[in-house]
């Protein structure tokens, strides 16, 4: 590119007039929404009272069919899901979890009076490291493993399942990023004792807020439903409820989003390919490849910046993008193991080297319903120009970064 740099960081007009957020923001068409709302208003069945309502029951059935899993328990959000899952497994004490995850994964442990023990990740895939998990299990005081499938990929399920069996500890998963992903022919949602999905608007299947727990274990499923708030007639011992019902309108939206799943996944795939084709050609930018899955939902565009070849640090690139009105949240910032009270837990930061590296170098780009091919072109242009003009950008940004 030989033209005069037109980046906003140099004072040019931002490429985007309003902020382009990360994603996914898929949502039903108005007509379907209105029809669903009118149906609910005429039935006057708004949400579970003693038992789940008809649309929640239908949504769960469709999820079970889609994932080929015995039980899907629809919930208000995935954080409640992780809290309920942890409690249902009866976990107390130390649970292995990656620090490189959205903080809710670890917060869920805290509410159940469990202590996180942070494992590291694989530097290439950013999934939890089998070697690191094994080393922690060898300590002998581990009560469970909370695995995390990141970025539309899967952690190495076979290896981690083998380790969990070998050490006799329960294994369950935060699968917030992985709805619709498949390991060989088996859907994520069928591994371990339980898996927890998020239906937050950031994920491919959205109910605004929402989530579900999937399991093939009948006894666990019954307890999950009781904890969610479903009626249980005179039990000997009452479960500690954790009110987390999904409403009928959320379920109606979820059903429509399931209908749209293939179309939205294809849209993600096209967008992901467009980004990867252009950005991988830029020195120092690597878009993470999907790992551990035969089919992914392509719901994230996550990449890493190598400062020595790209010319800018990750945070400098994000400053360039921010000036252009492109969303630039640093993923999982700050890394969970550095946030109180987790930072107070004795840990060996040297054993979280890959996590710390990922926290310095990883970025995410917008993908989904609000993103067009033209947006992707523009974003890739910005990143390309940022590389070419990196030296000048550093001189402009240095005073800003210093403050």
């Amino acid at each position: 590119m030989t033209s005069k740099p037109s980046l906003a960081v140099f004072g040019a007009k931002p490429r985007f007039t309003t902020l382009l957020p990360l994603g996914q923001f898929y949502w039903p068409e108005w007509d379907g929404y209105e029809e669903a709302a009118r149906g609910i208003f005429s039935r006057r069945y708004y949400t579970a009272q003693r038992f789940a309502g008809p649309l929640v029951i239908e949504f769960q059935r469709r999820l079970q069919e889609f994932l080929a899993v015995k039980h899907a328990v629809a919930l208000r959000n995935a954080t409640n899901g992780l809290m309920i899952a942890t409690h249902t497994l009866g976990l107390k004490g130390k649970v292995i979890v990656p620090s490189w995850t959205f903080i809710a994964t670890v917060q869920a442990l805290l509410w159940s009076q469990c202590q996180p023990v942070f494992c590291d990740i694989d530097v290439e895939t950013q999934q939890m490291s089998v070697r690191s998990v094994k080393r922690l299990l060898e300590r002998g005081d581990i009560k469970g493993i909370l695995g995390v499938h990141l970025w539309g990929s899967a952690l190495p399920v076979v290896e981690i399942e083998t380790l969990a069996k070998e050490y006799g500890v329960p294994l369950y998963f935060d699968a917030a990023h992985a709805f619709g992903c498949r390991v060989d022919d088996q859907a994520i949602g069928t591994f371990g004792q339980m898996e927890v999905f998020s239906f937050h608007e950031a994920n491919i299947l959205s109910t605004g807020e929402g989530g579900c727990i999937t399991t093939n274990d009948d006894a666990l499923a019954a307890k999950l439903r009781a904890m969610r708030g479903d009626h249980v007639a005179n039990p000997d011992v009452w479960v500690q409820s954790a009110t987390a019902r999904m409403s009928e309108i959320q379920a109606a939206i979820g059903l429509m989003m399931l209908d749209d799943f293939d179309r939205n996944r294809r849209n993600n795939e096209e967008q992901h390919h467009s980004y990867a084709d252009r950005l991988n050609a830029i020195p120092g930018i690597t878009i993470l490849k999907h790992s551990g899955v035969k089919i992914t939902n392509f719901q994230h565009v996550a990449g890493v910046v190598d400062r020595s070849t790209f010319g800018l640090e990750r945070d400098e690139l994000l400053a360039v993008l921010k000036a252009e009105n492109v969303a630039t949240e640093r993923p999982f910032h700050p890394p969970t193991h550095s946030v109180a009270p987790f930072s107070e837990i004795a840990l060996n930061r040297a054993q979280l080297q890959n996590t710390e590296l990922a926290a310095q170098t990883t970025f995410q780009l917008p993908i989904g319903a609000r993103v067009t091919a033209d947006h992707i072109e523009k974003i890739c242009d910005i990143i390309h120009e940022a590389h070419i003009h990196s030296e000048r950008i550093r001189s402009v940004l240095a005073p800003l970064v210093a403050t």
């Binding site: 903080i103 917060q107 509410w111």
Partner: protein, 394 residues
């Protein structure tokens, strides 16, 4: 009226074809709900967006408080409020055993031990005396629920908390519209927590909110309900997701728009119940105080010794007619749970709980329905000894 029953009980078919519940299940104008929904269709954010902001402002205005913080349920609103306010280093939270059936679960999630207290026989709520009896040097917080009708001594309990340096959270789920000493509910104690579950005054499908005059506390709760996030940085590890979504916020706004009309409708039905039960000397309606602003939403009756049946048999008889009257709370001390609780003797609770029930009201109950229910109760009163032998009572 002659001695002949006007309605016959225990027939082949229930008197009501459709069940008559106690839950509100209020249906706001659907066009208003769709109108609010169009806003998030325009700006394409579906959780914790502009409608939630608008709702927070509207609720603060409704309660005449500095701040309202919308959350996804009363339950998690309580857990957040207790977690934010409970005194560090202390272990117990005082709450009545005669209250919402998940009260002790909420306290356990917050990480504290429920210490049950008794209630006042007149207000049916906690009093300064019952709270004092349960307080000690391990008390971290007082959780004071308002009863289904009228208020507990909100001012007295607020003063008690302040005098002893113990934070007070009111469970005001049933009291959203009310005043105490002519002051709006919402501004008492350190915080008040509300539910907007569809069975409550305001229907948002699911949801809730916290009110407070303490801006710092509101900021803290705003962060805690968003994973402790402030901007794009996590500042607080002890947090969770209790954000309200925009669809539920749209519903809350539509319900809030019509709240005064809703109260007028409750008032008409309440007056019918009061007039209709006046002649029935076995049942005594718990009346709203005329000196305060009231919602007239829930119909609570006391059963006295002259009533011919036990409450349980009365409820069974009513249920057979599709009148889904309910006990007024069951004491939490009756259930067995998996976490520690402190359960002292609670003589008032023990004496009054079998004598209270809640009669159907809300959107599924018309003024005609109330007349019929009153008639059924009159029939039970007149023919109680015969009804005792009905097969349905087992």
């Amino acid at each position: 009226m002659s001695g002949q029953p006007q309605v016959s009980l225990g027939g082949e078919k229930p008197l009501f074809a459709k069940a008559k519940p106690t839950g509100n299940l209020y249906r706001p104008d659907i066009e208003a709900f769709l109108g609010y929904s169009r806003r998030f269709y325009e700006n394409r954010r579906y959780s914790d967006g502009d409608l939630c902001r608008m709702l927070d402002l509207r609720l603060a205005e409704f309660h005449a408080v500095e701040r309202a913080v919308s959350v996804n349920s009363g339950f998690w609103g309580h857990v957040l409020a207790m977690s934010a306010l409970a005194l560090p280093g202390r272990q117990e939270i005082i709450a009545p055993a005669f209250g919402y059936r998940r009260t002790d679960d909420m306290i356990a999630w917050a990480g504290y031990i429920p210490h049950f207290c008794d209630v006042d026989p007149d207000t049916l709520g906690v009093s300064v005396d019952t709270v004092r009896a349960a307080s000690n040097d391990r008390t971290a917080l007082i959780l004071a629920p308002h009863p289904m009708v009228n208020c507990c001594d909100a001012q007295g309990i607020e003063d008690f908390g302040r005098a002893h340096g113990i934070p007070v959270v009111f469970d005001s789920v049933e009291a959203a519209y009310r005043t105490y000493n002519n002051r709006r509910i919402g501004g008492f104690g350190d915080a008040e927590v509300f539910s907007t579950h569809s069975t409550k005054l305001l229907n948002s499908f699911e949801g809730g909110y916290i009110t407070t005059n303490n801006r710092q506390l509101a900021d803290r709760l705003d962060g805690m309900k968003r994973f402790g996030l402030v901007g794009d940085t996590v500042k607080d590890g002890r947090a969770l997701n209790a954000k309200l979504n925009e669809v539920h916020a749209a519903m809350a706004l539509a319900s809030l728009d019509e709240v005064d009309e809703q109260i007028a409708s409750h008032r008409r039905k309440y007056d019918l119940y009061v007039a209709g039960l006046r002649a029935n000397d076995g049942l005594k309606i718990v009346e709203h105080k005329p000196s305060e602003r009231a919602d007239y939403r829930l119909i609570v009756v006391r059963i006295d010794n002259s009533w011919p049946l036990s409450r349980e048999n009365t409820l069974r008889l009513l249920e057979a007619e599709n009148v889904l009257a309910r006990p007024y709370y069951a004491p939490l001390t009756q259930k067995v749970v998996e976490y520690p609780r402190i359960c002292p003797e609670l003589p008032v609770t023990k004496a009054i709980f079998p004598r209270l029930m809640v009669l159907p009201s809300g959107a599924h109950v018309s003024e005609d329905d109330v007349a019929k229910i009153v008639e059924i109760l009159a029939t039970i009163r007149r023919h109680g000894s015969d009804l005792k032998s009905l097969r349905k009572l087992g």
